[in-house]
Amino acid sequence: MTPAELAAALKSKDDKQRAAGIDSAAQSGPAAIKAVCPLLGDPETETIRAAKRALYKVVHDAGKPGDAAKARAVEKEFVAVLQTSSSIPERREVLWMLSEIGGDDSVKPVAALLANADLREDARCVLQRIPGKASLKALNDALKTVPEEFKYHVAESLRKRGEKVSGYPSRRLVPTKHTSVQPVA
């Protein structure tokens, strides 16, 4: 399938056509990304799901050991989507796909989303997951720039990455949510 044919199959109302698109996505490779990513913001739920399934096929195929060039090509396409799209759902999915395949080239565009209130928590998680010094530096830099309340989140990621962080202690055990249910005598 060409990228356009793949996108059309994924957008189809027919279950079989969507399934055929998902099954063929890996063969389309990096070229599919630009055409399929906009479907992640489609109003039709099954189209979104089909697009997500297809794109993960691309990610997992490109992540096979021994084909670094393919992985970098996929990363490049996703980074381009991240930098041009304005859709929150689309960028949220792309962020998590980059968490599985992204490297140093993803770090700057992902870190830029720490300034986006809707996407910063996803971006933090993705930086935590991408290995290497660049993502670690981005998290350390973020600790100086993100809003005060979000610094606790970034500090948690840094600790997960083995960093010592002064201040912003973990609040994972701080209870916050009350029930309206009363005990029964």
């Binding site: 799901r49 933090r124 290995p131 009363q182």
Partner: protein, 453 residues
């Protein structure tokens, strides 16, 4: 409270209480002890009674609550707290557990110093975080299976159990059943020879054939808390309840739901709790529609070394019907899953594998010879009682956290191999994937703050 409270478990509590009583006696202070604290013949005193909190009280959690309330009536436990993110379920539990304090947020429950132990029966994506937090607060833990959703979570659970010296029992209760014990005893005593292969069969994971669009969560549900460590997404009715099992992030399909029983028994019978496979080869069919994304059908082959043996999970596999049809009917035996143990002299079939376990009569009738090998036998063939004994005596429970995590790792790795579409190499000593950068990343999944390990 910014950090975990210092561990206080029953052992340390009793020790400090004893010291305080002795000090009081020395000083000649009056000691007023409520009568209900003192034990009477046939009725344990309050100091022998485990004080329990329940986290997750629907589905399996409701079953656990029924069990502990029955034990409470016999005077050997006290249920003081119930917790759920669903207010309807919570209200129902509060009605059953009269006097227990209801909580929406489990963190209020585990910070209570009067609670010795918690029973966690939340969806899978909560198991690790809640177990680690509870253990760090000094609580003994019974946690539903499968233990963890990722390799990182499993390692954190084992570490938390070890550093806090608490008893953790994972809810793969097959090991505590009489006929599983008999099957283990039979094989451990060489009755079918050396076992080189175990083949498991199970029916398929259901497909989401009635998909629904996202919507507002029902008023009784705290959706943010239900999601917990998972990344945020809009509510969809196909996530819960019960059906969380068919979503990869919160469940993972039949290999995890029932594999956590059938393969738990296999690791136990093969004496392989402290080992792991060296390779995992999975193939399967992933759904192309709906919310649920766990493999519908799958076959996974795990190769173990030193000793060499193979474990196969087939979904569906070749069913082995139970031969006693009258018994099947009378006992409601679910023969759609189980495992065959292939020895070099004979084979043995173990049907079902959870709260129901059946094996062949040759194993049921087997008597251990003098000097023969013995295996762990849960007291009264009761999985909860095995946990209580572990708490009281400090001995390892039958489905301790190391064993629970070893089983969960099989299910996690099987799913990962299917999703990635390739064979994985595993270092069972370091407990990590080898030679596959992408798969290595997927050994962990960053968690949403503040619901982190």
């Amino acid at each position: 409270m910014g950090e975990p409270v210092p561990p206080t478990n029953r052992r340390t509590f009793l020790k400090s209480a004893g010291t305080a009583l002795a000090a009081g006696a020395t000083l000649g202070l009056p000691q007023i002890i409520p009568s209900n604290v003192l034990a009477a013949a046939g009725k344990p005193g309050a100091n022998d009674r485990l004080v329990i909190g329940h986290i997750g009280v629907g589905g399996m959690g409701g079953g656990h609550l029924g069990y502990t309330l029955a034990r409470q009536n016999r005077g050997d436990v006290k249920v003081v707290a119930v917790c759920d993110a669903d207010e309807k379920r919570l209200a129902n539990a509060a009605k059953q557990a009269k006097g227990a304090t209801p909580y929406r947020d489990y963190r209020y429950l585990i910070e209570r110093k009067d609670i010795d132990a918690v029973i966690i029966a939340t969806p899978d994506h909560w198991h690790a975080v809640q177990t680690v937090h509870a253990a760090d607060c000094g609580k003994h833990v019974y946690v539903e299976k499968p233990a963890c959703c990722t390799i990182e979570e499993g390692k954190a659970m084992v570490a938390a159990g070890q550093r806090n010296q608490v008893a953790i029992q994972v809810g793969s209760q097959g090991r505590s059943q009489r006929e599983c014990y008999k099957a283990n005893l039979y094989i451990a005593n060489g009755m079918i020879g050396k076992v080189r292969k175990v083949t498991c069969w199970h029916y398929e994971t259901p497909a989401d054939n009635k998909p629904l669009p996202d919507s507002e969560p029902p008023p009784e549900l705290d959706w943010d808390l239900w999601l917990g460590p998972m990344r945020w997404r809009p509510y969809n009715a196909r996530y819960l309840h019960g059906v969380f099992r068919w979503v990869m992030e919160s469940g993972g399909g039949q290999i995890r739901d029932r594999g956590a029983h059938v393969m738990s028994n296999a690791l136990w019978i093969m004496n392989a709790d402290h080992t792991g496979p060296v390779s995992i080869q999975g193939t399967g069919v992933l759904p192309t529609k709906g919310l649920w994304d766990s493999a519908l059908t799958m076959d996974v082959t795990y190769e173990f070394k030193n000793p060499d043996w193979t474990l196969v999970w087939s979904q569906p596999g070749e069913p082995v019907p139970y031969f006693d049809r009258e018994k099947v009917k009378n006992l409601g035996i679910r023969e759609q899953y189980g495992a065959v143990y292939h020895g070099d002299k004979d084979k043995l079939v173990v049907w079902v594998g959870d709260g129901q376990v059946f094996t062949e009569m040759k194993a049921v009738d087997f008597k251990k010879p003098a000097g023969g090998v013995d295996v762990h036998q849960s007291p009264s063939f009761d999985h909860h009682e095995d946990w209580f004994q572990g708490i009281k005596t400090g001995r390892k429970t039958v489905m301790n956290i190391e064993a629970g995590v070893a089983t969960a790792f099989l299910t996690v790795l099987g799913n990962l191999s299917v999703v990635l579409g390739r064979k994985l190499q595993w270092d069972p000593v370091k407990q990590e994937i080898v030679g596959d950068e992408q798969a290595r990343r997927m050994m962990s999944r960053p968690q949403r703050y503040p619901y982190c390990l």
